[in-house]
Symmetry: C2
């Protein structure tokens, strides 16, 4: 899935643009809007926010608030949010996934990153300044300018992570302005009855066949970690929606793409409180959770809204609460006295979830075989239909979604398909929409970054293709992106290496010729959970790699205004076979579980080293072995033939090394020609 | 220089052992000492500390202190400390460079890392427990066990960095024990008249020829950065001894190996205060500093001890003080009100010093040419004398020091020479001493990690050699270490890449066969300053790489109880020539400025790729070009001949690629033999 979008809003805010290497503030750009004329010029896509902003200002006035900060996140720092949580979008008209709004009595501004600058200009009206950065320092400086000394800067503490709150706190420190948390959300107050209702869909248990271990086993394991921890925490507080879903083997559909539901969990050494609302649970799920009641393996079901009160009461006792600071809100955090806190970046549940056991690994592998069938069907269909001029980006995206839907256990796409043709693929934030979608053509490259949710696993794969004659630059850059994918995939590395320390292997073939890509190299993925599953990956805040983790490997190259390339596979971290073994724990490497061949039309095989070619041929062999039988089982003979053609082994002597061997070959040939002049016909 | 030793004590404490990848606590080990018998068994090298510890306990008692923490650092977090600052060593008998002691009324313990465990067992008496870790959490837990609730834990705030103080503070947080800074150092108090006197040697100006820019230019530049900073700091506080030495182009000899002097600087937008003691400055130096008095370029000279009072007074005003938290002490930090602080990891002076201008680059290059002459003389001398059995590690170390001393502008070694033979080279903390030094032999590998101080630059180089027949493992691992050195040295990478993100290229050839090394890959270096110059290098707290920075590149391999390999060069970050140029700023690569060939006897050329061989041949060409003439100028004809032999180009067809080319060559040969059976004699 597209590597820029998958950085959750909270991360973008937290680390500024560094993580995504997004361009920084750009003040030279001219706005599509012209707010200097009367009436102002606004594109027809802009939303009139005058009444909303005025109502918010009234609410602020009543509480003595001089500035109010509105984030794009929900209370769980979710990557996707429900319509009910789209406060920033309702208030500003801006529908991008990352941004922050600040309103004062006479000004209002929206901060967002370069992916969304054009979109924001099209959607904002003249109530809103657009600030082209996401650095909290910048927001802080704007606030210092707009709010007089002595003023209150307010926000909803349940919508800001601990780390983000600390950044605001630091930005205002010593400035004479007070950062004032207000638990009543002022946007919700003015949104009133128009606000979409709370989610009420059924929450269900995963079928037994798709469960890696029972929730009781998971709970026992976490409790053991609590006992063994030097601080002996008495409870773990779970704020991430995927934490609770994983722990209890439950799923729901409260937010798009990720099969999770609104909830919190307080898992103590003697009790389990699940804040979700009893009536939302399917009967079987409720029974599974409460079979052992009363007792330490009885799940007490409480209303979602009771979480703060319950936590407040729990921390009265002689307790220590363990939580993950990257995604727990300041609102919950501040309820816990400092000496009763055990802070880590991620909770032990988040870390346990990241390492898949052998059953979970097999489930994810199986999902990827069926997913490969759908993608292969798609690639063959494109090959046949694109030359007829009948496919555009949007209909293409619909077709791959439909192909996946037809595969067993599919539960829809795992994110909005990114199907981009020609220059659109160079825009990292591009997704096609009906009506404004580019026609696919044999004269352009096409990038498809898509994925599916299956009961056994979540998938995410990107293939870039060209059906005609690619330019030399396209072919060279595609090959170098592939070389980077291969070099990282076949890397052997010591246990507990941080992804950040090895991701450059995916960049080096581009670096060699002065090129690079401006996004991360990969992210974790779940078993029918998030397509971007933290904390696995190659960024600075990811945890070290361990056998059993799954990550995407997705280098790319983007030529502005011309084309875009990305080659993405999902890979499992496995033990490596090495000549020497210097430590008790074996070295690691990757097993690629995405099983779709690359476009031969775009590979300049002469650039590859013999090792790269050998790796590629071995990978293709495993595709044949694992996807071939499934294609036959599904009676997809044409696809089967396509797969055989597309996975023909590459000859080793076409490698880059051949350039060197040429010397000695030529020497022999020269000798031959001397000895046998007759051969030179 | 040896990569473990160069991690300053404050860094080891701050980051635990992660940075150096040192082994963690090991409680299974048995101590050389036996404190359970009466009288206890102690090696003769142990120091009787009973009276010292008792005196310290009396001093603690008088002040109501239940635990007193004694670090190994000085007030500037210097890597090397003077005898006057060796408080931990005096109190405990332990002379290692990294450690922490804690004394209570009935217990005392020393924490140190694995480099020093054996040494500590040999030097401590039974007053001291040995704790085999350096994690502050471990020290904190020991304190919690030893000090009752309500007790005071004290330390000298001028010997702890801000970050280290914070770690102690966090370890005791909410525990009911108070972390109490006491400005009178209690060890100094009991040490009394026996404590060595303060440094009084002359402080001198660098000769004009060795100055990269005048101190006035440097001051102007830092003031400009202050002005341009969004927080508009009014002053920069310099605590690092190398910061003040660099800023004013002054040098001294207060501590071993690094030509610096005890000092602080407060550089404000209108004044310059240098805390050093006027009488210590050479006349010319004083004149250079005060030529523009009074005025903004007048350096006010104040006593070293006046720093806290002066700072306390300065921060009464409407000011903002900029400082580096990695090496400023908590003692100074706490004098500055929070809202008047601008904290960065490193001061702007530290960052400016890290990027050498073209004159400084030329100076460092020139120093490395003369240094190469000394090392080449040494390698040839070893080749001739080792077979006669006349050299041991200690006499070898003395000889290289003497050879450097004979070179122009030399000012002694830049660190204690590491000359290790056979299994000793596998100990990362090994330095030979007179009397316990291993004989060099043609049957063992020999590692020499040495460096010099020259007026124009500081050098640091490691070569590993074998004069007989290396084992296949020695040859393979040496070659892989060399391949790693080459791969990192020839890497092309984007501007502002963090060293941490590329250092794995130096490890990969070892990783491929399941091997690795347990230390960092490189560190910055100065112009006649520190051999370990922060913040350049490949570790997580180093700053991104920029053209003009110098770093060592020093992969290694250590086979316990058998041999050790390290290949270290100094390299300058330079702009790269690339096929494409995607950004306004060009990509970067390294220019290796250490100019000594590697041991051909240990290179298995068949493991190298054609690119690696090409790189090596080009490097050897540059050695010939730059060191050859200097050897001739110094009339070292034998060394010149040795250099020519040692830098013969390697044939390209011996590369790893040849293995592949063999196929096609063989095919042709087969054809040939078919056509010309007579050729098969």
């Amino acid at each position: 899935m597209r590597p820029l979008q998958w950085i959750p809003a909270w991360l973008l805010l937290l680390h500024g643009c560094a993580a995504a290497q997004l361009p920084q503030a750009d003040n030279t750009r001219t706005d599509i809007r012209d707010c200097s004329t009367d009436p102002p010029y606004l594109p027809p896509t802009a939303t009139d926010t005058t009444a909303r902003v005025a109502a918010l200002r009234d609410a602020m006035w009543a509480l003595g608030v001089q500035a109010y900060v509105v984030p794009a996140t929900d209370a769980h720092m979710s990557e996707y949010i429900s319509a009910r949580d789209a406060r920033l979008s309702w208030l500003t008209g801006f529908t991008g996934s990352a941004g922050t709004g600040v309103v004062t009595q006479d000004k209002a501004a929206l901060w967002t990153d370069s992916r969304y600058w054009t979109q924001a200009e099209r959607q904002l009206d003249c109530n809103w300044e657009l600030q082209r950065t996401t650095l909290i320092e910048s927001i802080g400086m704007w606030i210092l300018d707009a709010v007089p000394i002595g003023g209150n800067v307010s926000l909803d503490p349940f919508l800001f992570s601990i780390d983000t709150w600390n950044s605001y706190s630091q930005a205002l420190q010593g400035s004479g302005r007070t950062l004032l948390p207000i638990e009543t959300n002022l946007v919700d107050q003015v949104w009133g009855g128009e606000r979409p209702p709370a989610a009420s869909g059924e929450i269900y248990s995963l079928p037994e066949a798709f469960i890696g271990s029972s929730w009781q086993e998971k709970v026992a394991r976490i409790r053991q970690e609590m006992e063994e921890h030097v601080r002996h925490p008495t409870a773990v507080l779970l704020s991430g929606l995927e934490e609770t879903a994983w722990l209890f083997n439950l799923r729901g559909d409260d937010i798009p793409y990720n099969p999770v539901f609104y909830s919190y969990t307080l898992l103590t050494n003697t009790s389990i409180s699940l804040f979700v609302g009893e009536q939302r649970l399917a009967v079987a799920a409720r029974h599974s959770l409460q079979a052992a009641c009363p007792g330490p393996l009885c799940v007490e079901l409480l209303e979602y809204g009771q979480t703060p009160d319950h936590l407040r009461q729990y921390v009265q006792g002689n307790v220590t609460v363990w939580l993950g600071t990257e995604y727990t809100t300041y609102g919950l955090y501040r309820l816990i006295p400092q000496e009763k806190l055990l802070e880590d970046s991620y909770s032990p549940v988040m870390l346990a979830k990241a390492v898949k056991n052998s059953k979970e690994q097999d489930l994810l592998r199986a999902a990827h075989v069926r997913d490969a069938v759908a993608v292969i069907q798609y690639l063959l269909w494109l090959e046949k239909t694109v030359p007829q001029g009948q496919v555009d980006e949007f209909s293409g995206a619909q077709h791959i979604d439909a192909l996946r839907q037809a595969q067993e256990h599919n539960r829809g796409p795992s994110f909005q398909s990114i199907c981009a043709s020609g220059l659109n693929a160079a825009l990292p934030h591009y997704s096609p929409s009906n009506g404004s979608s580019r026609q696919l053509s044999v004269d352009e490259m096409y990038l498809a970054d898509t994925g599916g949710q299956y009961l056994d696993g979540t998938t995410d794969i990107t293939r870039t293709v060209h059906w005609g004659t690619p330019t030399p630059l396209q072919k060279e850059t595609y090959t170098r992106v592939l070389m980077g994918n291969i070099d990282l995939s076949r890397l052997v590395f010591p246990p507990n290496t941080a992804g950040r320390n090895i991701e450059s292997f995916a960049r080096r073939p581009l670096w060699d010729v002065g090129l690079d890509y401006g996004h991360g190299t990969g992210h974790g993925i779940g078993n029918f959970l998030s397509v971007h599953e933290w904390p696995v990956g190659f960024q600075s805040n990811n945890v070290p790699l361990t056998a059993g983790m799954f990550t995407s490997i997705e280098p790319g190259y983007y030529q502005d205004g011309e084309f875009g390339i990305r080659i993405e596979d999902i890979a499992l971290v496995v033990e490596a076979q090495t000549e020497h073994q210097s430590e008790e724990t074996p070295f690691l490497t990757f097993e690629v579980v995405s099983l779709v061949p690359y476009d031969r039309n775009l590979i300049d095989i002469s650039l590859l080293s013999p090792e790269q070619i050998r790796y590629l041929n071995t990978y293709y062999e495993s595709i044949r072995e694992r996807v071939g039988p499934e294609l036959q089982r599904q009676q997809l003979q044409e696809e089967y033939n396509w797969l055989q053609r597309s996975t023909e082994p590459f000859p080793l002597d076409s490698a880059a090394a051949a350039a060197t061997s040429a010397t000695s070959t030529l020497a022999l040939a020269a000798l031959l020609s001397t000895l046998l002049p007759g051969l030179q016909a």
